[in-house]
């Protein structure tokens, strides 16, 4: 008897994330830290395991080292399995031809044998750059019920932003009659979330056809989906209502972090019914000191706070010394803010040192934008990093 999986997930994690600038100098976008203890990829991986999908191929290409190490054997997500589990799929050398992944469709095409090994009925395509909680099992159920060849998860976006997305034009029953990639004049505001379920045989067929097309950019949104629609395949939208955020830019990453705060957060990572799994820091509880003030913030294990922290997200082992202030900021693991320093409206990557009395960023609302500091750098004592500045090297001031 051949063993099989009902559904295999393929997670596209090769993106460079160039709009995150210094934050993705050496790591792939899905490995970027989020929400004090998570990384972006924790969300699709947790969604998979919470939806009962236990076979996930993670396609990496750009700076995969840290992402590979983070995923490891998949144990933190319960994805270390004898048959299935999480597998890193990097570009590889083949007998006839070797190449980097050229577009999303080609990346999946090159890993056809991985999918076929599990003999799945359906393939779920995911990307590693969104923060959301979604039950893929419900979407799969819809896919099976409608008898679709491809189901595309879709969310309503403000009409003014619709031209940034792949837009689905649908009939009343949810079937798609037109797919427009980033249309100048969008006809609807129903945007593709980049989450597709294919009936496996159809996927294989259209990936083969796409490979043979010399003019194709080998992209799902631009090539494969339109080709399927033109050939009259049955395509349905699956409406998603809930929090979904692309964290591909500095401002959206900042906003999405801040969405975790407050009594009724826009996005709740503490939901006991839909746990977000991650690797956990090995650190004692955070210590909030004698003169500390912590207000409207999220603080991870191992932090030592003696100063003031307001409306901020602090990852594990961050130190805020006495008299220092962190406001409206996202601080990643191991960063130290020394005495008298002020950090405002900033995103600071891991293991940065902000020396005494230095100033990073400008007041939020001052119109200067978010300051960004790349990992492992030092901002010298008394130095000023202006609002909106992006630094990836040590800075001692003028």
């Amino acid at each position: 008897m051949q063993r099989k999986k009902e559904c295999v997930a393929m997670l596209l994690a090769g993106g460079q994330g160039s709009r995150l600038y210094a934050l993705t100098n050496n790591i792939a976008k899905p490995a970027v830290a989020f929400g004090a203890k998570y990384r972006i990829i924790d969300f699709p991986l947790s969604n998979c395991i919470n939806s009962g999908i236990d076979t996930v191929g993670v396609l990496t290409q750009y700076e995969p080292l840290e992402l590979n190490e983070y995923i490891g054997n998949g144990q933190p997500w319960d994805l270390d399995r004898a048959f299935g589990g999480v597998h890193i799929l990097s570009p590889y050398q083949a007998k006839k031809k070797s190449s980097w992944y050229e577009g999303t469709a080609n990346a999946i095409y090159q890993n056809m044998s991985f999918m076929k090994k599990y003999n799945p009925g359906y393939v779920l395509i995911l990307s590693g750059d969104h923060i959301y909680k979604m039950n893929y099992a419900k979407m799969l159920k819809r896919h099976i019920e409608t008898g679709a060849d491809c189901t595309i998860a879709a969310i309503e976006v403000p009409m003014s932003e619709a031209s940034r997305f792949g837009i689905l034009n649908t009939n009343d029953d949810g079937s798609i009659y037109q797919f427009e990639e980033k249309p100048k004049q969008p006809k609807s505001n129903l945007a593709s979330m980049g989450i597709y379920i294919f009936t496996a045989e159809k996927l294989y067929k259209y990936l083969e056809l796409d490979e043979q097309d010399p003019d194709s950019e080998k992209d799902f949104g631009k090539n494969v989906l339109p080709a399927m629609l033109n050939s009259g395949e049955k395509m349905f939208s699956y409406r998603f209502e809930g929090y979904w955020k692309d964290v591909g830019t500095i401002s959206s990453l900042w906003e999405s972090n801040m969405d975790l705060l407050g009594e009724n957060p826009a996005f709740d990572v503490g939901d006991a019914d839909w746990k977000i799994h991650s690797r956990n820091p090995l650190a004692p509880p955070e210590y909030i000191g004698m003169n500390a003030k912590v207000d409207n913030s999220m603080i991870a294990l191992g932090c030592e706070i003696e100063g003031t922290v307001e409306h901020s997200i602090l990852a594990s082992n961050v130190v805020v010394e006495e008299g220092a202030t962190v406001r409206d900021s996202v601080i990643m693991a191991g960063t130290v803010v020394r005495k008298g320093a002020v950090v405002e409206y900033s995103i600071i990557d891991e293991n940065v040192v902000v020396e005494e009395n230095a100033k990073v960023g400008a007041e939020r609302g001052a119109d200067a934008g978010i300051a960004v500091l790349g990992r492992n750098i030092t901002i010298g004592a008394g130095a000023t990093v202006e609002g909106g500045k992006i630094l990836d090297k040590d800075y001692r001031g003028e």
Binding site: H277, P285, I299
Partner: protein
């Protein structure tokens, strides 16, 4: 070192010292410093000393311990060869489960025989410290000791069973006393229930003791043969918290608010524990937290001072928690005031309750109670 030492942890011995906390669990699984259990310290010391096989001796109430340890993966001790090996009591028609350490050791001679390591480190779970066992094994080898007992200078002890040591200038133990009246006499050498012994020697001693009908490892073997057995004392000079009563539990917990203590315990290496995948703790607008340790999953709206909050604790609006230890998933609703209180897991304290104890006698609320 790595392959020459096997660890043995006694999870139940000293249970009677803290009946409040060990009624439903072993000494080993008593929660400590927000996200740990006492066994995590002994176990992490072993892992950090390069020990990869640890036998955990249990007797009763060990469901919570099994749940905590799982496969051992959180300590990197899910191994094909060795790892964590649970050693529940062994008894046949003639034997009741053990009542003394010697009987417990007799019950694990099969485990000890099957191992190949040269030495055994035996540790109880009543001590919280950062101890490098490889150094003690080296000391043991250098002195060609039969038994090395680790001691710490203390000025008071509250345990129902304890041993004091009198080493000569070479470190050899010349006197060994059980439960001597030492409180109020200044400092003394308190045996901290960590011992290094050659594996084969231990097996031989147990066999011999069984044939002679001995029952107590301390009384029948160590004290009586202090002149013939080469027992050496190793002084542990670091921070040591002996959890020997609820008062000591409270006192030592509060010491964790000192940075120096935390740096020594957690700074140089990792203390491993079971992972729960809680979200990071959240502080709402108006929260006021001072001089406290807060664990993951906490949600704080009120005031918390000089306290330790375990995982998943909620402190509601207008509530004030001072000088208290609040264990896992306790819910403190609104306008509550707590001072010198210890709540066990899953306690619920309703609106407007006011409870207080004192440092000498903290007010204890048992697991799952609703007030």
């Amino acid at each position: 070192m790595a392959h020459s030492t096997v660890g043995v942890i006694f999870s139940n011995i000293h249970d009677q010292n803290i009946p409040e906390l060990s009624k439903h669990r072993t000494m080993a699984s008593i929660p400590f410093v927000g996200r740990y259990r006492l066994v995590d310290f002994a176990l992490s010391n072993m892992v950090n000393s390069g020990i990869t096989t640890v036998g955990v001796v249990t007797k009763n109430n060990y469901q919570s311990l099994i749940d905590h340890l799982g496969s051992g993966k959180d300590w990197d001790l899910a191994r094909k060869d060795g790892g964590i090996i649970l050693l529940p009591p062994y008894s046949d028609e003639t034997d009741a489960p053990y009542t003394t350490r010697l009987e417990a050791l007799k019950g694990i001679t099969g485990f000890l025989r099957h191992r190949k390591e040269d030495y055994v480190v035996i540790s109880d779970c009543d001590g919280v410290c950062h101890m490098d066992y490889s150094e003690i094994v080296r000391f043991h080898e250098e002195n060609r000791a039969d038994v090395t007992m680790v001691y710490h200078r203390e000025d008071s002890v509250e345990s129902s069973y304890y041993i004091t040591l009198e080493p000569d200038e070479t470190g050899r133990i010349r006197g060994l006393k059980i439960n001597p009246d030492v409180n109020g006499t200044g400092t003394f050498n308190l045996y901290v229930n960590v011992m290094v012994v050659r594996r084969q020697y231990l097996i031989d001693v147990i066999q011999d003791a069984v044939t002679r009908g001995f029952v107590s490892f301390g009384r029948d073997i160590l004290t009586k043969n202090v002149d013939t057995i080469r027992i050496f004392g190793y002084e542990f000079k670091g921070y040591y918290a002996g959890i020997t009563s609820i008062q000591k539990y409270y006192k030592h917990s509060m010491e964790m608010l000192n940075k120096e203590v935390r740096d020594e315990l957690f700074g140089a290496r990792d203390i491993y524990t079971k992972v729960r995948d809680s979200a990071p703790s959240k502080y709402f607008e108006g929260a006021a937290v001072k001089d406290s340790l807060i664990s993951d999953g906490c949600i704080i709206e009120g005031t918390v001072e000089n306290s330790i909050l375990f995982r998943g604790v909620k402190v509601g609006k207008g509530s004030v928690v001072r000088n208290s230890i609040i264990m896992q998933d306790t819910v403190i609703e609104s306008d509550v005031s707590l001072d010198c209180v210890i709540t066990d897991k899953n306690v619920v304290i309703r609106d407007r309750r006011h409870l207080s104890g004192c440092a000498e006698l903290p007010y204890f609320i048992a697991k799952g109670r609703m007030l």
